[in-house]
Each structure stands twice: as C-alpha cells, then as structure tokens.
C-alpha cells in the first residue's frame, strides 16, 4: 500500500489544492489513508463546507461516516475543497480554495465534491468521501477519471453532515479502484439512530450480480459533446461484447427533474442556512451592539458567497405564501413521477445508463462566462437519480481528444447498490484506466 508523508501531502496539495485542511501529524504507517469532503464534521480538524462564514470551526465530533472509516482502520489526512455548501457544478463557487483538475491544471475538477475526486485521482491507494445532492459525486468522478458512487438516500447516516438539502443529501465514495466502492460503502452503511432516515434501510447486499441488461434513456443521449457521445457509444459496444443487452427507452419525466430539483434543493438550503448568523460556529467577531436582525444580516451579507446568496434568495422565494403550491408542492409531485419512471424501467432492466456529464471538464475561463442557469442546466444528466434517491455511480469510459476523462453513469433501484458494485468490478477488468502524471 502506497503511503504518503506529511511533506509530500503538503507539496501535492500545493499543486492541486484538493485539501482545505490537512492533518498536522505525520500519517502513521499501516492505516489506510482517506480524505473527506469538507461538509463532513471532523473532530478537531477545521470544517468549513467551502464557506467563509464557517472559517475557524473545529467540530467537537466526527460525522458517523468519518467515525466508521476511522474505526475500520482509516486515517483522515485531509478535508477536501468544494463549492460553498455544495452549491455548484465545478467547485469554483468556493469562498476558500478551488481544486485543479489532475489532467489539466487550467480545468475544473467538477463539483461539488471536486477536491475529493482530485484526491482520489492523484493519491495512490486513497479513498475519498464525497456528498451528492444533485450529482456532486458523479460529476467530479467523471471529470477526474475515477469511480464514484452515491448510494441510496438513507444508506449512509447523515449525522455530522452540514446539510444542503436534507431530502437529497447522500454520502458516498470516490476512488481510482472499483473494488473500493463495495468495501467502503460497506464500512459506512447501516442504521444510526442519530439519523432516523438511515433506520429504514434493508441490509446492504454483498453478492456479485452479473449485469444482464441496461436501459439507455433517449433523453440521456441528447445535447452531448462529440467526444462524450463517441466514448459512450464505444462503451455500449464494449458492454454488448461483455454479454449485456442494451435497450433504448423513453423516460419522459426526466426533463422535469432539473427544475424540480432546484426548487427542492434551494427551498431546503434556504432554511438550513438560516442557522449561520455569526454565533456558535465559525465567524463570530461582530458588533454586538447591533440589534438582533442587523447583527445576523451583517454576517450573512459579508460572508456568504455569490451562489449561496442566489440559492438562498431562490429558495426563500419559492417557499413564500402564494408560490408554495406552484413550486414546492409541484416539485415534490415531480419527484414521485421520476421515481415511478425509474421503477417502471428497472422492472425490466438491471440499470439505467447514460453519460455522466454532457461534456468533459471545462476550463476555468470558460466557466467564468457561464450564467447561473447555464451552470444549473449542465446537471441535467445527474439530477434525475439524485432527486429519486436511487443509487448511482460514475465509471470512467473514455478520454477526449485532449486526454480529458469521460464517465458514464449507471442508476439502479433503491437499495440495490450491489448491482452497481458488481458492474464497476466487471468494468474495471475491461477498461484501461489512465492515471494523471503527478508532479508535486
């Protein structure tokens, strides 16, 4: 097992900026190294969720996911950079550091678990914990050329997770080794009375399931870049060679998932972020002579970033009297319609398959020209599985003409992670993964 010393970790981080906080002690030999997205609380290690408003927050407890990784012999070496509170597709909406793509430093890692994907790609024998709300594990896994899985909603306890959208957030795993997905979801899964949403789960399956058939939604192959389309078609041919039936299907509900997701996610986020007011955590040095409302407003206005403010405003608006039924209640209905659409297709197939992202990792200067809506629309392939709470996984399936990684995303039925673990393990034997050239 490849082990890294403290000075080496610091030097690598200096080049890629995958970590916001790092261990201050020399990592011990014999324990496996892992990192965790910076919205998972880590005892004594600064946890900011990519936000300036939480700078200086050193939690008094570990999130259940981190606690279980440590209990399994893991050593937490760093907290990974991310979009502020998970609000983004490229990890560029950060109040702190922005991670750089290991295949091209001028490009983004994807988001919002960008630092996690970067760490998984750069460090050997390393597993990183990510969190997905609308695609935040699969998107960066695709852009950085690693495996990434978001399990069923409720499979891994969210205790200690700094919430973005409570009904959407899922903790998962990113790694350059397919076998790590089964191993570490297995470590973290299971009931935890501190998160009641984890307590209705059936036992995690651990058998190897031979993939028989996949459904490719027509809606999932629209709007792709030329390179992504070509890599995906080649992957379908390879799957057929492996004995998998591929069938194109229609899933008409998918086009409604994106607006429904942004209504639900921002509604939940705007209430979750109400707790950040300059008291108890992070930034607390304010003018205590101000009145209550003015004191709170001063912190929130100064320390929340641009996208955080935009999503708080959007979520506050869609919950307002007169708009609730049109937006929030309708979005909940659409979620159920999307779930039903997946159940219908998965009754006849083992998984639903489409490219993970419609393009490869963009350059930072191109991202800066995108409008907020352009950026939201980029998530149209990852959002449906996230709004449905179904387990989903991105596996590397090719490289574009610049050598940038391309991923494809499998979606399985609720609680059926074992089919995804098996697909990743079978695919890994057939696909030649490229590792980035790492120079600190």
């Amino acid at each position: 097992m490849r082990s890294y010393g403290l000075s080496e970790i610091r030097a690598i981080n200096g080049k890629y900026s995958m970590f916001h906080a790092m261990t201050e002690e020399e990592p011990s030999e014999g324990r496996f190294h892992f990192s965790a997205k910076d919205n998972l609380t880590s005892k004594g290690m600064e946890t900011c969720s990519g936000s300036r408003i939480l700078e200086g927050y050193r939690p008094a407890f570990d999130a259940t996911s981190i606690e279980r990784m440590k209990a399994a012999g893991g050593e937490l070496i760093g907290k990974t950079n991310m979009d502020e509170f998970g609000f983004g597709t490229f990890s560029t909406n950060s109040g702190l550091e922005v991670p750089r793509n290991p295949f091209d430093l001028e490009r983004a890692c994807g988001g919002s678990s960008g630092g996690s994907a970067c760490a998984a790609a750069v460090f050997e024998d390393h597993v990183s914990l990510g969190v997905s709300t609308g695609g935040s594990i699969c998107c960066p896994a695709s852009f950085c050329g690693v495996y990434g899985i978001a399990p069923t909603y409720g499979r891994v306890s969210r205790y200690g997770l700094i919430d973005y959208g409570n009904s959407l957030d899922k903790i998962g795993v990113l790694s350059s080794k397919a076998t790590d997905l089964r191993k570490y979801i297995g470590v973290m899964a299971g009931k935890d009375e501190r998160d009641p949403t984890s307590c209705a789960q059936p036992e995690l399956g651990d058998s190897h399931v031979k993939l028989g058939s996949v459904a490719v939604p027509m809606e999932g192959v629209e709007g792709l870049s030329k390179d992504v389309e070509a890599a995906f078609r080649s992957a379908l041919v390879e799957l057929e060679r492996m004995g998998v039936d591929v069938e194109y299907v229609n899933m008409p509900s998918l086009k409604y998932a994106m607006p429904a997701y942004y209504v639900l996610a921002t509604s939940e986020a705007s209430t979750n972020l109400a707790r950040y007011v300059g008291m108890r955590y992070g930034q607390q040095e304010g003018d205590l002579s101000l009145k209550f409302d003015d004191y709170f407003t001063s912190f929130r206005s100064e320390y929340f970033g641009d996208e955080a403010k935009r999503r708080i405003l959007l979520g506050t608006f869609t919950r307002m009297v007169g708009f609730r039924d049109r937006y929030y209640a309708k979005a909940l209905q659409v979620r159920k319609v999307v779930i039903d659409d997946y159940k219908r297709v998965l009754a006849d197939h083992d998984a639903v398959l489409a490219p993970t992202m419609p393009f490869t990792a963009p350059r930072f200067d191109d991202i800066s020209k995108m409008s907020a809506l352009d950026s939201y629309k980029a998530d149209y392939l990852t959002i449906p599985a996230n709004i449905a709470g179904t387990p989903h996984m991105s596996v590397p399936c090719g490289y574009d003409s610049d050598g940038m990684p391309i991923g494809m995303q499998f979606v399985a039925d609720h609680w059926n992670e074992e089919v995804l673990f098996s697909i990743a393990e079978d695919w890994e034997r057939e696909f030649e993964l490229r590792r980035p050239e790492v120079v600190a």
């Binding site: 209550f292 004191y295 001063s298 979620r335 159920k336 939201y376």
Partner: protein, 90 residues
C-alpha cells in the same frame, strides 16, 4: 423578477444586497423562474411525500444522555461566563 420583490425576499432571508447584487440577482432569478415554468406542464400525482424513500419513525428511550461534553462544544464559541454571546434583543 422586479427589484422590489428581490428586496422583500432578501429581507426575509436576512441578507442585505448592494445595488449591483440587486440588479444581478433580479436578472438571474428572472431567468431561472422562467425556466421553472416547465413545472407547470409536468404531470402531477397525489401520493407524494417529502422523502424519496420510506423513512422509519425512530424514537430513542426518554432518558437524559450527553454524547458530547458541553465544554467541548463551547470551546470555540464566543462566550461569557459559560453563556453564548449574541447581539442585543432590543
């Protein structure tokens, strides 16, 4: 979205916006809400909930328990004689 609505929403959310922000968010949110009109034509249903999977109602025994030492929690908080400091109430 008009400026007056954005100002009302921002007040409710405890965020003070600069003139530049008001203009930018007014434009952005208008564009986003126009896109959300797609929801009006989406099929609905009656049997929907707030979570994507069934969630169990879990209650622990009604016994007092402390998982984290309160002094640990207060360590990095701005406190005065063991109380969290905050702004004036009036």
């Amino acid at each position: 979205m008009d400026r007056e609505t954005i100002e009302r929403v921002a007040r409710a959310a405890h965020i003070k916006l600069t003139d530049d922000e008001l203009e930018r968010y007014s434009r952005d949110l208008g564009e986003i809400l126009t896109y959300f009109e797609l929801l009006d034509e989406a099929p609905g249903c009656d049997d929907y909930g707030v979570n994507p999977v069934e969630v169990a109602d879990i209650l622990r025994d009604d016994e007092p328990s402390i998982r984290i030492d309160p002094d640990e929690l207060l360590r990095d908080m701005n406190t005065y004689e063991g109380y969290v400091r905050g702004p004036r109430l009036s």
